[in-house]
Amino acid sequence: MHYTDNEILTLFKDESTRNMAFHHLIQKYQKKLYWHIRKIVINHDDTDDILQNTFIKVWKNLEAFKAESELYTWLYRIATNESLSFLKQKKRANFLSIHSIEYQLAKSLESDIYFQGDQIQLKLQKAILTLPEKQRIVFNLRYYDEMPYEQMSQILETSVGALKASYHIAAKKIEKYLISN
């Protein structure tokens, strides 16, 4: 049975139905959030860690959630922030520059057992990994998830115009990469 976000929130407020509500919340959003995180950090194990941390944060803060924004927006925002801070930590831990972490991620794709794309898909993923982090997120949300700019604007707290511009710049860069490689 599928519950709406409001039903989940109402169930979560009640101590006796809190666990059940959280279970339904995980069931409803686990796949969407997983794939969102996976496209940012690439590796499955890292994604698993970040996803679990995201839901733990949700559990701790859902009671204080004031429903000023929609639940899925809030969830996506937590997942995005968790993924970005994970990448920052990784850079700091390995003394890497921004470009080298993306290079490392691209390298790891080739040996990733959970990546089953052909040559052109691998090339596309590598092209996406040359983009700056936020541009990469915008591109993935639009190109793969077909998310409307209005929703994206709420998640990334950026104007629709800026997001559209960012997406087109990203597409241009990827096109250039595909031509030159």
Partner: protein, 246 residues
């Protein structure tokens, strides 16, 4: 309207043939035109009055759902489908100017381990339980720190420390006679020590640099040999001589 539009979109996008022809419809139902012709008027009447299932004992006892309850999700489904198709078209149009990118098929390239999502909620719950246990342990430690038992314990410890310091200070006062450091010398002792007349011969000898005195002694011996004969040995030097030397 929405149904028509979505049917049109589905048929144009996925190349689904529209079946308007009656014979085609019958074929898709597994019927021939003869089957329809053999259907008697009585059978049609039964169907029209909704009694066609009366002769089937089990089937007639299964409660029917109201049609209005079922039609709503179908409309929702079509509405959602139309929106999904519109989104796809929008994204496709946006990428159209980029010839290389638009030719890359949008497919699923990442995978997860088998049954990964089946166990995820349990894994998260387990982590939450272990985290809560750690937090409760920390809270227990904190409550112990902030509890009465520790307050009394801490005050007793403070008292012991103060008593210890007091006793140590007393011991220091008693052992002042044995003190070897400059801080132990009283003011009077320092003042008296500066009056050289109060020094004994032995103390004066200690203060002298023997090498300097011998050098001085040799120098003086050159000037006055008689003085040397009387004071050849440094041990024989008088206090007055040493005072002059100093």
């Amino acid at each position: 309207m929405i149904l028509k539009l979505s049917k049109y979109l589905m048929s144009s996008l996925y190349n689904i043939p529209e079946q308007d022809n009656l014979s085609d419809n019958l074929k898709s139902l597994g019927l021939s035109e003869n089957d329809v012709k053999s259907f008697s008027d009585n059978d049609f009447n039964k169907v029209n009055s909704g009694q066609e299932l009366n002769e089937f004992e089990i089937l007639k006892n299964i409660p029917k759902k109201k049609f209005s309850q079922e039609v709503e999700p179908i409309t929702e489904f079509w509405n959602k489908s139309v929106l999904d198709i519109q989104k796809k078209i929008e994204v496709h149009d946006e990428v159209k100017p980029y010839s290389h990118l638009s030719h890359v098929p949008v497919t699923k390239v990442f995978f997860t381990p088998e049954n990964y999502f089946d166990n995820l909620s349990y894994q998260i719950k387990n982590r939450l339980t272990s985290d809560e246990n750690i937090v409760s342990e920390k809270l227990n430690i904190f409550s112990l720190i902030s509890g009465n038992a520790l307050k009394y314990g801490f005050s007793v410890l403070l008292m012991i420390v103060f008593i210890g310091i007091y006793i140590l200070n007393q011991n220091n006062g008693m052992s002042q006679n044995d003190c070897q450091s400059l801080s132990c010398i009283e003011k009077n002792e320092i003042v008296n020590a500066t009056i050289i007349q109060n020094f004994s011969n032995e103390q004066l000898y200690e203060l002298l640099d023997e090498q300097n005195v011998e050098a001085e002694f040799k120098y003086l011996s050159i000037i006055n040999t008689s003085l040397v004969s009387e004071n050849e040995n440094i041990d024989n030097l008088s206090t007055n001589f040493l005072m002059e030397e100093l």
